[in-house]
């Protein structure tokens, strides 16, 4: 085993925290959608994949400056989220949950195939080389640090939105009592659309942060989609705080597990941990006592 102040250990812990930030952002988006609309967007990671292509095209192909390209990418995915709700979810609101799940699953395959046809299966990246930060003997990529800080900033913005605005308060209220929203004068249909756009915008932000670090290809969603579902389930579906905590728990497991051999082992450990937890706490990490 290692000594307490092992630099590799410390590096892994910090890497885990950096990874956790982006995972928490994605979990927040999924939880927002689930909490308000009561559906799970199985295709969430694929929306992010489209967003990654979006930034790639805006920035690398069309040559837009980053300060335009990134907001444009966020807006693009927000519109996609809106369309997803309007076209797929809204007609199925009263359908059985399994049908909603199958429908968003269908969108997942649609987006993958669409990306394959439209963009090809080549791996692409922005071609930005951000420096590596060296602190003592530890090394962190600047891109990851930037992604972590931006994810944190995104979550703070959402937090302020949820606590300071009427729409945000309604978003928190609706999961607590759906039927009486009409008595408050809330148009639930419109609230769903706003939430879908917001969930899309969060996916767009995550896309910008991920494409800074990783290549994009039509199946890139598979490399982080499953783990984000484990996170929101373990955090308790619709539970924002639970999702936030679970994101960092999983990120640490992946990062520390990766210390022993490679990162793939970290994922194996994370999934094993999930299965164990499902036996121990099936309602999620921070399940509410009810």
């Amino acid at each position: 085993m290692f000594e307490f102040f092992d630099v590799y250990l410390l590096e892994a812990v910090i890497s885990g925290i950096l990874l956790g930030g982006v995972l928490a952002l994605i979990a927040l988006g999924l939880n927002l959608i689930f909490g308000v609309i009561d559906v799970v967007w199985i295709c969430y990671a694929e929306l992010i994949m489209i967003g990654m292509y979006g930034l790639y095209y805006f920035y690398s192909v069309y040559g837009l400056p980053m300060w335009i390209a990134a907001p444009a990418c966020i807006a693009l995915v927000a519109v996609l989220g809106l369309l997803l709700h309007y076209i797929v979810i809204q007609p199925l609101l009263d359908a059985a949950p399994i049908n909603q799940l199958l429908a968003t699953g269908g969108v997942l395959f649609f987006l993958q195939s669409f990306a394959t046809v439209a963009f090809g299966i080549d791996f692409r990246n922005l071609g930005i080389r951000l420096p590596v930060l060296a602190i003592g003997e530890m090394h962190f990529s600047f891109a990851r640090l930037l992604a972590f800080l931006a994810a944190l900033a995104g979550m703070v913005v959402i937090y302020l939105f949820m606590t300071r605005t009427y729409i945000g308060t309604a978003i928190r209220a609706i999961s607590q009592d759906r039927q009486i929203m009409v008595l408050m004068g809330v148009d639930t249909k419109r609230l769903y659309l706003v939430t879908s756009a917001l969930g899309g915008a969060l996916a767009g932000l995550a896309a910008c942060l991920l494409v800074l670090q990783y290549d994009v290809h039509p199946f890139v969603g598979l490399s982080f989609g499953p783990i984000t579902f484990l996170i929101v389930v373990l955090g308790g579906l619709g539970n924002f705080i639970g999702g936030f905590v679970a994101a960092f728990v999983f990120a640490e497991i992946i990062s520390l597990g990766g210390l022993y051999s490679d990162l793939e082992w970290g994922y194996v450990l994370a999934f094993a941990f999930f299965i164990l937890m499902m036996f121990a706490r099936p309602q999620g990490l921070l399940a509410r006592r009810s």
């Binding site: 009427y166 308060t169 309604a170 928190r172 209220a173 607590q176 009592d177 039927q179 009486i180 929203m181 009409v182 008595l183 408050m184 004068g185 809330v186 148009d187 639930t188």
Partner: protein
Amino acid sequence: MLKLDAVAAGYGTFQALFGTTLDVNAGEAVGVIGPNGAGKTTLMRVISGMIRPWSGAISMEGVDVLAEAPHRIIELGIAHVPENRRLFPRLTVEGNLRMGAFTPSARAKFAHRLEFVFDLFPRMKERRNQLAGTLSGGEQQMCAIGRALMSDPKLLLLDEPSAGLAPVVVQQVFELVQRIRSGGLTVLIVEQNVQQVLRVVDRAYLLEAGNIRASGASAELLASDTIKQAYLGV
């Protein structure tokens, strides 16, 4: 002010109201009494838009209520304190009150209305940052009524405000209803607590199995044999 004409309503294929006709004049307090399952709550829901009637007409100050989208009915000046209070348990007291002021016109006077509600319920001011789910039963009822008052309504619908409360608190709730009335608000109140409610309302309707069986001034009803035998236990 409020007029219901031959309103029929139900759930799925189950009919709960069979052509209810009722009216409430401005400034009045009107009671609806009746046994469990009579359709009292359904009546309130139909007025506030929680469910849509199958047939019939509802108007508020001459405006066709059923022509409005359900979430816009509150803008006609109708606020509904639902059965079992239905607070948002994981929002603070202030969060709940904020939800009561969700409509654009109510938002504009939020500070003013908040002051009004806090004057009416100083306890709510003390507890403004407490989660609504942790309030006592009586406090929850205050919060629920406060939430409805945030929209500055003309007509307040109260569905069994005294249910599940300790006798002392029940007394306070009825005193409160009286105070709200004297402030000029029109009130339509559903109660199982027949004796007490007939003391605070001007008129009442007796609803049984989805039909209005009797109606009249409170004093008349208190004296009537049907009511005495069935609801007052004398």
